[in-house]
């Protein structure tokens, strides 16, 4: 009983200490800086609507900053709007504009350094160089932010959400457009990236390197300059994402370079010039994905080993699989290919004849890109048919021995 009273007492004390400071142009406290100065750890600072031009706002106390109806924090193109360092800081409901741009220093609208348990949610960030820049931090949440940039050239543009050397970061429900890379990770581990929309960025929709044990799910990557590129990483899982309309000679739905022990499951690749490009990848499971209307559904370079490509649907792609050599060390069994022309005598749903997904002409184009212009001509169709019957140039081992007759329900 005594203990209980003590606990209640302590809670009441805590409650009594946590106060709310209201900042507004018509209130006693007129600037956000002043509000933060008055606040103690655990306090809440509510900011009324208005435009606040206060230079760089530095938050180092464990406080909650809440914007009411999106008060504008204007950096006047001179400073970073907000610098956050510390623990248990929450920022929500602000509109950040006119952050400083530079071509050699990574200025950002919200800069988080050496912090932990930071929550950045429901903010709008317009025309920033880097929108949200996180470095050397852990356990941060970046949720429901809407980030819009107007980058035109790669050299002077910054990334939407840029995270460096951090761990346990949650990036959810954000939308990022018009930056260099939508989401950029370097040395970020054990993080979760969900439900984000990365559209119309000038370089990559998603770009990460050396970022192990991360999980990407339900994201949309659409119409980015060079699609999505991920490199030098192991233990990544990508599920239920949509990669679409990434068009260009070096643009990929997803480019995998030196990725190992990873999973690519249940994703959709729609209308990309190349759906997946795999280079130096080992032990990746590519399963239950749907490849539709791509130029090349997959390009698997000869230096990939022990990957399993199975239970995927390949429909309406100009070419299903392309490769650059004759050695094949990955498995392509048990997929649905709409170009499959075999039969199924015992009616078990599995075609009785093996399917060779690499067409002769895709090899020809790999060597001589100009030859693309003869695609679908009578001559090329004839050559392809001959090659299918007697493979001479295409890799004989790249074969689906158990192609299904009907598409998988994905």
């Amino acid at each position: 009983m005594r203990f209980l009273i003590l606990v209640i007492f302590v809670f009441m004390q805590l409650h009594a200490f946590s106060t709310t400071i209201i900042v507004g142009q018509q209130k006693a406290v007129k600037s956000i800086k002043k509000g933060i100065e008055l606040a103690k750890d655990g306090d809440t600072v509510k900011v009324m609507p208005g435009v606040y031009k206060e230079g760089s706002i530095i938050v180092k106390k464990s406080i909650t900053l809440i914007g009411i109806h999106f008060p504008v924090i204007d950096g006047e193109s001179k400073v970073e709007n907000m610098l956050i360092s510390g623990r248990q800081i929450s920022i929500s409901g602000f509109h950040f504009i006119n952050s400083k741009h530079s071509s050699y220093i990574d200025y950002s609208a919200i800069n988080i350094i050496d912090a932990t348990k930071i929550n950045i949610s429901n903010n709008k960030i317009t025309d920033a160089h880097f929108a949200i820049h996180v470095s050397n931090s852990t356990h941060c949440t970046i949720d429901r932010n809407s980030i819009t940039g107007h980058a035109t050239i790669t050299q002077s543009a910054g990334n939407g959400i840029h995270i460096w050397k951090s761990a346990n970061i949650l990036v959810t429900n954000n939308s990022i457009t018009g930056h260099r890379d939508g989401i950029y990770f370097e040395f970020v581990t054990h993080s979760d990236i969900r439900n984000n929309k990365s559209i119309n960025n000038i370089r990559y929709g998603l770009h990460f390197m050396f970022s192990h044990y991360n999980h990407y799910a339900y994201n949309l990557f659409k119409n980015n300059g060079a699609g999505v590129a991920v490199m030098y990483t192991h233990h990544v899982s990508m599920e239920n994402n949509i990669f679409t309309q990434n068009w260009g000679a070096s643009s990929y739905g997803i480019l995998l370079k030196d990725i190992t022990d990873s999973k690519i499951i249940n994703n959709q690749f729609l209308s990309n010039t190349t759906g997946i490009l795999m280079e130096g990848c080992n032990r990746i499971d590519v399963k239950r994905n749907s490849f539709n209307h791509n130029g090349w559904a997959m390009k698997v370079q000869a230096n990939c080993e022990n990957n399993v490509i199975s239970t995927n649907n390949f429909k309406n792609n100009t070419f299903d699989i392309a490769t650059n050599g004759t050695s094949v060390m990955s498995s392509f069994d048990h997929n649905y290919w709409d170009k499959y022309e075999g039969y199924d005598l015992n009616k078990d749903g599995i075609g009785d004849v093996a399917y060779h997904p690499v067409s002769l002409y895709s090899m020809v184009i790999e060597k001589n890109p100009s030859a693309l212009f003869l695609l679908r001509s009578f001559l090329v169709t004839l050559l392809d048919k001959v090659e299918k019957t007697m493979p001479a140039i295409t890799p004989v081992e790249l074969v689906d021995k158990k192609p299904t007759m009907k598409p998988f329900q994905l």
């Binding site: 260009g248 090349w296 709409d338 693309l372 695609l375 679908r376």
Partner: protein, 256 residues
């Protein structure tokens, strides 16, 4: 002239070959759409038919028709009619019947079943153009050759040339000179074969994703723009008009 064309048309209809051709196209097109689960695969097969069968039928049918109605033409020429008019009405009669056969045989199923209307319409447009172009070719070759076997032989050779040999030569050139930038060269080469021109026109719509890479982007920029489309159709019209004009010139001075 219209009256004369009408007689030519009646004559063609009486032979029932054109009706069989219409039916053949209709059954193949409907069959393809019914058999394939997704309509774009059916369109792909139809494309092959349009690029291969259509020119062949147009060439052979026109050539045979010309030689069969040789006596009719002679009879007409004994009347006070200009040679130009007689040949033009023959041409328009044959052309009209072939285009109608195509429109009914392929056009109706495509419009009924194709999910992507823009591909369907470009397919029909290209089919119509190819019918006209190869009819005009056939007129030129048959006006030139008095001997029927020679006329049909030339027509077949033309077909072989445009569907197979030409592409083979280009492939050879592309590989022999692969160290050189050949992009603009391929643009020119495409314009020099009506079948290639039509194929690229449809491919830009059907394989748009693949066309965004490498050389494809160049093609898309050129042929995909409105001036490129004008270029395509301009070339097509030239391909139809030039052999016909040559045939008319030859026919005017020919010793029948």
């Amino acid at each position: 002239m219209i009256k004369l064309s009408k007689y030519v048309l009646y004559n063609i209809l009486k032979s029932k070959i054109i009706i069989a051709y219409t039916l053949f196209l209709f059954i193949v097109a409907t069959g393809l759409f019914q058999m394939e689960a997704n309509s774009s695969k059916a369109i792909l097969s139809l494309l092959n038919i349009i690029l291969i069968v259509l020119p062949l039928v147009s060439l052979i049918f026109t050539t045979i028709h010309y030689y069969n109605s040789y006596e009719f033409i002679e009879l007409m020429l004994s009347q006070p009619l200009s040679r130009k008019r007689v040949l033009l009405s023959e041409f328009s009669g044959v052309c009209f019947s072939l285009v109608m056969a195509f429109c009914i045989g392929v056009g109706i199923p495509v419009l009924l079943f194709a999910t992507d209307v823009s591909i369907g319409i470009s397919l029909i447009l290209i089919g119509i153009f190819l019918s006209i172009i190869f009819t005009s070719f056939a007129f030129y070759t048959s006006v030139n050759a008095r001997d029927k076997a020679r006329g049909i032989g030339t027509a077949l050779l033309l077909w072989f040339y445009f569907t197979l040999i030409y592409d083979g030569i280009i492939l050879l050139i592309l590989f022999t000179f692969s160290d050189y930038p050949l992009e603009n060269f391929t643009l020119v080469m495409a314009a020099l074969n009506p079948i290639d021109l039509g194929r690229i026109f449809i491919m830009l719509k059907m394989d748009s994703s693949a066309m965004m890479g490498y050389t494809g982007a160049l093609f898309k920029d050129f042929f995909g723009s409105s001036s490129g489309m004008a270029f395509t159709f301009g070339c097509m019209i030239l391909w139809a008009a030039v052999p016909l004009l040559l045939a008319l010139r030859k026919f005017r001075k020919k010793d029948l």
